[in-house]
């Protein structure tokens, strides 16, 4: 048999019908919804007189517009946010879906809770009307973000009509250095290959450095595949994956578990299988990264200045480059490390899991956030929050001067309510530094949680390594 990529195996397993011209009718195993786009899809479906075909395989959560301040209610900072919550709740109940509502201990950011509840499993197809669904490919699933109309299609038919994406393998050889994280690797890839670098491909991350990552770090790496313009990301399931999933809420049990694992072991790319594109990077070349512009590809290793336009001319037009610098209030050649910050944010589906909080807390322990810096930590799920509190991390954050929040997307994006201020400089563990992403006129610098923590303490963008996590 011709050697196949893991992606091709999953594609073949789900191909209900070949629609011609490289388009397949694919069976969809899991559909996830959140209140920002899920309510719209469910309502529109109902208005068209259609029903959810397999409600037991559909899960909804409240994460995007919910308040994250302690003691929250349905009232949101976003002026009309309460309506999104109410509409999603009503529609989810009417359709008979599983909903992780505000008061549910399983509530949280959709891409954080799905792995921790084992809703996503290796070899499944999983979709969500949210671009960071690619995160979940870290568990060996084919998971990708779709629009609301496509979500309606999946809900109504258990399938999607999908143009077969091209494949790309990104092999990361060697090991990441001490204090260098999956987030830095994601930013390194964007800096090096550009934000269109994986355009439309399913990216399989492979190589020793990737195998060495735990599941939470793999989720971080895959999370930013959408910033890389990928169709999705994928990491072949292995013992690390199985150990992570075993015993979780929706994982199979007993004999079914054994049968599943046996099947999952086959979801690897065969030796000799061909990809449409291959990239290789050496983990030793990856350093802690920070973004300087308004596109995630506009990033540099800490300690390096804003590049001259000449150095990146093949990627950013002069206009885009000048526009980014003007927005960020920076000049060519200016140092990024040492820039004074107004705020620090740890949260989002990129970096808000327990290991992220632990690493940040290790830096914050016994230290204080610099005067004048507003620092916020938002755990990615209610389960992460509870686990962090059980080991006292909340006290470390609070004692350092961080706000300690309820789980949700929070200030990862500006929904129209709470935000950072105009021209405020924020160091953030999130995934997008677009203009006004975290608030009108807000200047976002993307970095790892440890860099955010070290910077919060220094009051300026700082390398976490001297502090030593």
């Amino acid at each position: 048999m011709t050697p196949r990529t893991a992606f091709e195996k999953i594609w073949a397993d789900h191909l209900v019908a070949d629609l011609g011209d490289d388009t397949g009718l694919l069976l969809i195993d899991r559909i996830l919804l959140h209140e920002r786009t899920g309510g719209v899809a469910l309502n529109s479906l109902a208005e068209a007189g259609r029903t959810v075909a397999a409600p037991t395989q559909v899960f909804a959560t409240m994460d995007h517009v919910v308040d994250t301040r302690p003691g929250r209610t349905d009232t949101t900072m976003m002026p009309t946010g309460t309506r999104f919550i109410a509409a999603t709740r009503a529609a989810a109940h009417a359709a008979g879906l599983t909903l992780f509502d505000l008061d549910d201990p399983r509530q949280g950011i959709v891409h954080v809770i799905s792995p921790e509840l084992a809703i996503v499993l290796p070899g499944l197809t999983l979709v969500c009307p949210d671009s960071h669904t690619c995160s979940q490919g870290a568990l060996g699933a084919l998971a990708w973000g779709i629009g609301s109309t496509e979500a309606e299609h999946a809900l109504a038919t258990n399938t999607l009509r999908v143009g077969k994406p091209k494949t790309m393998r990104v092999t990361v050889t060697g090991r990441l250095g001490a204090g260098v994280t999956a987030k830095d690797l994601a930013l390194h890839l964007l800096d090096r290959f550009g934000s269109s670098g994986a355009k439309g491909h399913v990216v399989e991350y492979a190589g020793e450095a990737v195998r060495a990552l735990d599941i939470e770090a793999r989720l971080t790496l895959c999370n930013m595949a959408t910033e890389f313009s990928a169709f999705s990301a994928f990491i072949a399931p292995d013992e690390v994956t199985f150990d992570y999933l075993r015993g979780r809420a929706y994982a199979p049990e007993g004999a079914e578990w054994d049968r599943a694992v046996e099947n999952w072991r086959g979801l690897v790319t065969d030796a000799g299988a061909m990809f449409d594109a291959e990239l290789t990077v050496d983990a030793a070349d990856v350093a802690p990264m920070v973004s300087w512009g308004t596109s995630p590809q506009q990033a540099v290793p800490l300690g390096r200045p804003v590049p001259d336009h000449d150095a990146i001319a093949g990627r950013d037009t002069r206009e885009a480059y000048d526009r980014a610098l003007a927005y960020m209030g920076l000049k060519a050649g200016q140092a990024i490390e040492g820039l004074a910050i107004d705020a620090a944010f740890i949260g989002s589906c990129t970096n808000s899991r327990l290991s992220d909080l632990r690493r940040a807390a290790a830096i914050l322990k016994g230290r204080r956030v610099a005067d004048g810096v507003r620092a916020i930590c938002v755990p990615g799920s209610t389960m992460v929050k509870a686990a962090a509190e059980a080991e006292g991390l909340d006290r470390v954050f609070r004692n350092a001067g961080f706000e300690w929040r309820e789980s949700g997307c929070s200030m990862c994006f500006f929904a129209g309510g709470e935000s950072f201020g105009v021209q405020e400089r924020v160091i953030s563990s999130t995934n997008r530094n677009f203009e006004s992403r975290q608030g009108p006129g807000t200047r976002t610098h993307l970095a790892s949680p440890e860099t955010v923590a070290a910077s919060a303490v220094a009051g300026r963008i700082a390398d976490p390594r001297p502090i030593g996590a």
Binding site: L19, N43, R50, T157, G416, R432, E435
Partner: protein, 196 residues
């Protein structure tokens, strides 16, 4: 969905790379839980003089009287990157856009365009003379620039058929409901753990 065959219209050049969906429709402009009432918020951050204001910024291309009534948008590479929000496409469609010409499209955004009757034309917009109306002929897969030059573009057959026929993908798929049910039946035996 309105079928699309041939369109001759003014094209507004907004040729910046990486125009993200937050820029196309800022989150703060997505106030309702429906798909309508979004045109006013289209490009709000660039189109108006200040956040929350509705005073047109004269330097923004859509406020230039020469491009009033534009139905084609010329954009830079990787258009529609960022959030998967379909509101970006709903806003563009409601404003009146029927086609977008760009060197490359974000895959989710591209799918959203097709499902809402907007033709994604993958051509480097810098190469097009848009000094006057241009024509997009979907059946022939050509774009005719203002100076009369024809440029061919690629589009997959499924997207083309949906756009030309104004077809609803769900209806198309539901004609295969029995086939899907049979597939699920067999698959359940193969992968019981996938079924909750």
């Amino acid at each position: 969905m309105t079928p699309f065959t041939i369109l001759t219209a003014i094209a507004a050049p907004l040729i910046r790379d990486n125009i993200d969906t937050d820029a196309i429709i800022p989150s703060r402009e997505m106030k309702s839980i429906g798909k309508t009432g979004l045109a006013d918020g289209l490009f709000a951050g660039w189109r108006y003089t200040a956040i929350g204001s509705r005073e047109p910024d004269p330097s923004f291309i859509l406020n230039d009287p020469r491009y009033a009534g534009a139905q084609i948008l010329l954009a830079g590479a990787n258009v529609g990157c960022g959030s998967s929000r379909e509101h970006a496409v709903w806003a563009l469609a409601e404003y009146g856009f029927r086609a977008i010409v760009a060197a490359s499209f974000n895959p989710i955004f591209r799918g959203n365009c097709v499902r809402n009757g907007i033709v994604p034309v993958e051509i480097d917009a810098m190469l097009i003379d848009a000094d006057g109306p241009i024509t997009i002929d979907l059946p022939r897969q050509t774009l005719t620039s203002a100076s009369g030059r024809d440029i061919a573009f690629a589009i997959d057959a499924e997207a083309k058929a949906m756009l030309i026929g104004g077809l609803d993908a769900i209806d198309m798929t539901l004609t295969r409901a029995a086939e899907i049910a049979r597939f699920r039946e067999a698959d359940r035996n193969r992968r019981p753990w996938a079924y909750l």
